[in-house]
Amino acid sequence: MRARLVMLWENVKLAWDTLVTHRFRSFLTVLGIFIGVLLVVAVASVLNGFRQTVVDQVEQFGTNNVYVFRMPFVNLGPLSREMRLRKPLRLEDAWAIRDRCPSVELATAGIAAPGFLKRATYRGEEVDSPRLRGVFPDNADVANRVLASGRFFTEQENLHRAPVVVLGAAVADALFPTGGALGKDVLIAGRKYTVVGTLEPRKEGPFGRQNEEDTLFLAPYYTVRRFYPGLDDHFLVARAVSGKLAQAMDEIAEVLRRQRQVRWNEDNNFELGTADTLIAAFDDIVFAALAVMFLLSTVGFLVGGVGVMNIMLVSVKERTREIGVRKALGARRRDIMGQFLIEAVVLCTIGGGLGLLCAEALLLGVGQLLPDLASQTPWWARGFAFLGSASVGLFFGLWPAWKAASLDPVEALRYE
């Protein structure tokens, strides 16, 4: 074992010597691998940073929340017939969850005003396509909303269908660039609401985009129902007792199946989401993007690998005599094989390592210029840079190494 390690180390030193002797040639050889690794690491870092901002956003809502949707959170491809025919979620469903699920400490519902609202205005300022939500006062609690000024609306205002509104940070800025929103009347799609509070900005979205929560107009549920009586599709949020998220989800599913009369042998006709499942759903997208990129980088690796094979064949040819001498001095086939394999692996690993270094330097530089582009190099990308390039060396070095090992010593010694 020790002897093997010594031999390995000898071969690595030897490979390094050869590499340094042919610096430029070696670099050109591993250019494909260099670029492949650079791409993988850069894209993976950006995607990972993107994912991290999504995670931060979702977790800002609270990790104990369960969201109930009618449709899957992420759905690739057209909706199935079963999904399109799903019944809307009702307000009573929220109360049923609140009353009958012991592991749920808070359940609330909300409703989204139609998406075709023209605009919201205050004096000369306006916001196009305002996103108006009708919610209960405990929404502030469930969604961890932090007030910048004023207050959230009360249960009294809700019950009396008072035309009041709480503004997200972005729309507050847009309508009241100089501040002083409290007490002012804003027009949302032609109807007048009095501003009672404004919210603190949420964490920025991916690529420095506005967090959608910052663009919301939050009005009392019954107020919105009064203005838009036709709305019936609710979104439900429940907060589980700390540490009982799993039980809460089971209980909610059970209650909703009864509420929605799902037969015992049918699947749920609703979707439950937590911070974790939302992130998991998002991870599917990230994963798909990564898979495509891996495929592309594989092409780079293949091209690079063929280059490595070519240069290794040249190297074997150039050193035919050396191989003959080594064999005459007692090198076995496996010794020669190992020597050239390790040379190919070292060559590729250094190429991959350089690619990784360049990628990290590049991301650091870009991060300085564009602080919004949150990139974060994941550990597996670093692992991939090394293992991927090493295995390219191993694979494409195999044939040249085998050729070297199979040389006839007499022929090799005679080679000029």
Partner: protein
């Protein structure tokens, strides 16, 4: 120096080697019978094309015979596989080549260490033995020099040190002075004389009479067969 007991180092019987050259077969060796005792200093002579290089390759276990048998240190080698032949080349034979065949980018010391690497000797012991071998050829002070920083004679001495370092049963030299001027040639042959006196078994392949004159026995090969095999009064200084 050589601590092995007396006896035969080499015995061949009917050693034959032929090469297929297209449709014809070239018979390089047509049955060589040769016995070399421990401590002998033998020169193999013959014109080019006589088969002496082929014989040397077979004796050096670089090649395997088409027919016939070959015992090295009492071990039959004709049936051995690649691994065992490599081991024999490593432990039992020390090669000295006409063109030195040193690794150009490695120091003299590294070159001499090379056979010990394949013998899986530990780095510390390797270094000590390589330095000792270089001392035997009077080059201990040049061990950090690369081959291109050494003269032809020094290079050949490094390659002799490399051949000696595993303490082999047989020193096998192929035209060891072919690339050297006559003065340096004499120095190298004097070194072989010293090694012979120290107990090494030496086999020199050459076509130069005055090189062969150093040996105590001259075997002449012609057309793949032993043409003459006789003891020889050595001309070297005693």
């Amino acid at each position: 120096m050589n601590t092995r007991t007396d006896g035969e180092v080499i015995r061949t019987r009917g050693l034959t080697r032929s090469f297929a050259m297209g449709s014809t077969t070239v018979h390089a060796l047509r049955g060589i019978d040769l016995v070399i005792q421990r401590g002998e200093y033998v020169a193999i002579m013959g014109p080019s094309g006589s088969g002496k290089s082929t014989l040397m390759n077979l004796i050096g276990c670089l090649d395997t015979p088409t027919a016939g048998e070959y015992w090295l240190e009492g071990q039959a080698t004709a049936q051995l596989g690649e691994r065992e032949l490599a081991r024999i080349r490593n432990r039992e034979i020390g090669f000295v080549f006409q063109t030195f065949n040193l690794l150009p980018r490695a120091s003299a010391l590294r070159n001499v260490e090379l056979p010990l690497i394949y013998a899986q000797v530990s780095p510390a012991e390797r270094r000590a033995r390589a330095i000792e071998a270089l001392r035997q050829v009077d080059l201990a002070d040049r061990m950090d020099h690369r081959p291109n920083e050494l003269s032809g004679g020094q290079r050949q001495r490094v390659s002799i040190a490399r051949a000696l370092v595993t303490n082999p049963a047989l020193l096998l030299a192929d035209e060891p002075t072919g690339n050297l001027d006559s003065k340096t040639s004499q120095e190298i042959m004097a070194l072989f004389d010293v090694l012979h006196r120290a107990g090494h078994t030496i086999l020199v392949v050459t076509h130069e009479r005055d090189i062969a004159d150093h040996a105590g026995r001259i075997v002449t090969i012609r057309d793949g067969m032993v043409a003459s095999d006789e003891p020889h009064a050595r001309t070297a200084a005693p």
